[in-house]
Amino acid sequence: MVPTTTVAPRWQVPARSVLARRMPLTITLVAAVFAIVWVLFWGWKTNYGPAIDDPTDFLYTTLDSITFAGLLFIVASGFTLIFGLMRAVNMAHGSFYLMGGYIAYDVEQKLAGTGGGFGLTSSQVSWWQWVVPAIVASAAMAGIGLVMQQGFLRWTQGQDIRQALITIAVSLILADQMIAHWGGLEQNIAFPNFVGTDKFIVIGGISYAWSRIFILLVAIGIGVLLWGWLHRTRIGMVIRAGVDDRQMVSALGVNVQLVFALAFIVGAALAGFGGAMGGSFAGLAPEVDGQWLLNALVVVIIGGMGSLGGAAVGAILYAFVSDFSAAYLPTSSGNCCTEYSVIFTFGLLAFVLALRPLGLFGRPA
């Protein structure tokens, strides 16, 4: 008789409690609940105090977050569109943003003059003197994006690290060229007069800058247009199919290269338009390109690469976390703790990736 020993099958995962198995989710939920309770009711020694004591500043912070999320969405949607279809990471997206901004700045100066001693102000800019530069910037970036895609990325399709290196090289060259042509000083694009920085909307005693509402409305408009384009047109259908299975779409007789070029044009144009918008909102300077590349990256890593809805959700989460952590950290002891707000962005990223390595709405390639 063969002696039998009982060996636990190696493939069995030892039983753990639900809470332990769902550790990342549990921690995330606890952190989120704590953050909400902190901001709403507790808020000890923060700048504004808890929201129940100071609802006005809470409302302002919320509105600021939502409008900033609008700008984030404009830039990140272009990034995620390119990535979703071509699996190409456009590391030059931040450079396209900054260059679009600079081009819009130049065109606006041509159209509306250089203004008075304090530069061009919103009251001197009519609506078309802002819209035309923004469109020119988008078109110029679409052109540069197309050249980069056709010249370098088309024949390296599928080698994603190499494509990322190529776009990094382009961003390095563009950054140096921009310093050579526009210098190192900060430049500001003036908003048109109907949403100028001196125009406020007043509802129930609370006034809010029109320019920020304008950004939000344009972002919503772009979001709706993109959604309609992707979900209600034939080209959109082809793009969505291409995101899922590029080779199959190509086998069905669709000219995939044409679709790629189109997606790259739209993505780069969105970066350029975002630059015109962001340059009016926060100014243009060297290193802004890196900042906006980071913004786009964080948004799409959180939301999931290639997902438009993910970009929207990622933009909102990122904007809320960065704005609220800057406003609602204790400021009691000299240099504590507002300066640690960047850790919260890091924490958001870590939580999302621990829960879903491909982002909230990401799907495997």
Binding site: R87, V89, F152, T156, G158, Q159, D160, I161, R162, A164, L165, I166, I168, A169, V170, S171, L172, I173, A175, D176, Q177, I179, A180, H181, E287, G290, L293, L294, L297, V298, I301, M305, N335, E339, Y340, S341, V342, I343, T345, F346, L349, A350, L353, A354, P357, L358
Partner: protein, 365 residues
């Protein structure tokens, strides 16, 4: 001559070239007399510590299949920890004024732990996701040090050169001593990385690079191996941080910003992403070109722009033509000579094709 013989000859040529390089490095101070007093301190020492940092990047890329963009942050963290630990009163930061060697050990240990943490976060993603995630970590680390005035702040922490070990003295007065320390550390890093890649851990890591699914089914813990590889790379990068701190006297967020991240990537790519020796080849090319451009104050004709445009174009050309960098050009160039003159293809036995390893993206599933 068979291909194997040819490869053996080539290896001997490489060994002789390496020996010549080592002799030139050991007699480096002669260069001060030949080229000018900047040679040892500005060119060679910088080449050595940048090369050590690039080694950590190339180790992850060549043996782990992970192109990491946060090695700069890791050496920056190491340098800042050293600066906080060893400097005395009168400087910024924590000025703990520990003994210099204690500070060195602490900096290396702390950076390795941070590497473990970053690795835990990044080890579940691969390829392009890994690249983006590490880039995000790098930029967040840069913002963290820029904001947190307790440990660094915008201007960073200076005065490290007044608190070096007696072995090194003041690098400004005696650059040769720091240079020889850097040379020994560089050689030790190279030998250590070569050794690690031959241990069972290193072999398993290369297996994971080539086929993570198969290695996982064989029972290897894939994320754990990646995480440990990342921590080991952080350990190597921390040496670079310590030497950088001694060399530069100051560590500030500006030395670990996005431009520095891209600079290190350029060094690794120009050298070779697939061979460790490429680290120092790339670093020397980068430092030397940078020095020449600044010394002669060259700018790009017609376009404008200076060093970053030049190195950006070099980078772009190398990525487009030879993903293996300068060492890849050497390998494919000699292969070409072999095929053309020494042994035409129809006479060559089977399997004499390129000995260049396929690019990392080719190995991705």
């Amino acid at each position: 001559m068979t291909a194997a013989q040819f490869r053996e000859i080539r290896t001997w040529v490489e060994r002789i070239a390496g020996l010549v390089a080592v002799v030139l490095l050991v007699t480096g101070p002669i260069g001060n007399w030949l080229f000018g007093s900047f040679w040892v301190n500005s060119i060679l020492t910088q080449t050595l510590w940048l090369g050590i940092a690039a080694t950590s990047l190339i180790f992850l890329s060549a043996y782990g299949g992970m192109v990491s963009l946060c090695q700069v942050s890791l050496y920056g963290i190491s340098g800042l920890v050293l600066a906080n630990a060893v400097t005395g009163p009168g400087t910024k930061g924590l000025h703990l004024h520990w003994a210099p060697w204690v500070g060195v050990v602490f900096a290396i240990g702390f950076t390795t732990v941070i590497g473990l943490l970053f690795g835990a976060l990044a080890s579940r993603s691969t390829g392009i996701y890994f690249l983006m995630l590490t880039l995000t970590l790098a930029v967040l680390a840069n913002y963290f040090f820029g904001q947190v005035t307790t440990v660094s702040g915008f201007s960073g922490v200076g005065g490290i050169q007044d608190n070096t070990p007696s072995l090194i003295g003041n690098p400004n007065l005696e650059p040769n001593r720091l240079y020889y320390v850097a040379l020994v550390v560089a050689a030790a890093s190279y030998v250590l990385v070569r050794y690690i890649t031959r241990t069972p851990f290193g072999i398993a890591l290369q297996g994971i690079r080539d086929d993570p699914v198969r290695m996982a089914s064989l029972g290897y813990n894939v994320p754990l191996h990646r995480m440990l590889a990342f921590a080991f790379a952080a350990f190597i990068a921390s040496f670079a941080g310590v030497i950088f701190g001694w060399w530069n006297d100051t560590v500030n967020p500006g030395t670990i910003n996005l431009s520095s991240v891209i600079a290190l990537l350029v060094i690794a790519v120009i050298g070779s992403l697939y061979r460790l020796e490429g680290a120092w080849v790339g670093a020397f090319a980068y430092v030397y070109i940078n020095n020449e451009v600044q010394y002669h104050n060259w700018s790009v004709p017609w376009l404008g722009g200076t060093f970053n445009t030049i190195i950006g174009v070099v980078f772009l050309v190398i990525v487009l033509l030879s993903p293996g960098g300068l060492l890849g050009i050497w390998e494919s160039g000699t292969n070409w000579i072999y095929r053309l003159w020494i042994s035409p293809p129809r006479l060559a036995p089977a399997g004499t094709g390129s000995t260049v390893p396929p690019p990392a993206e080719g190995r991705e599933p």
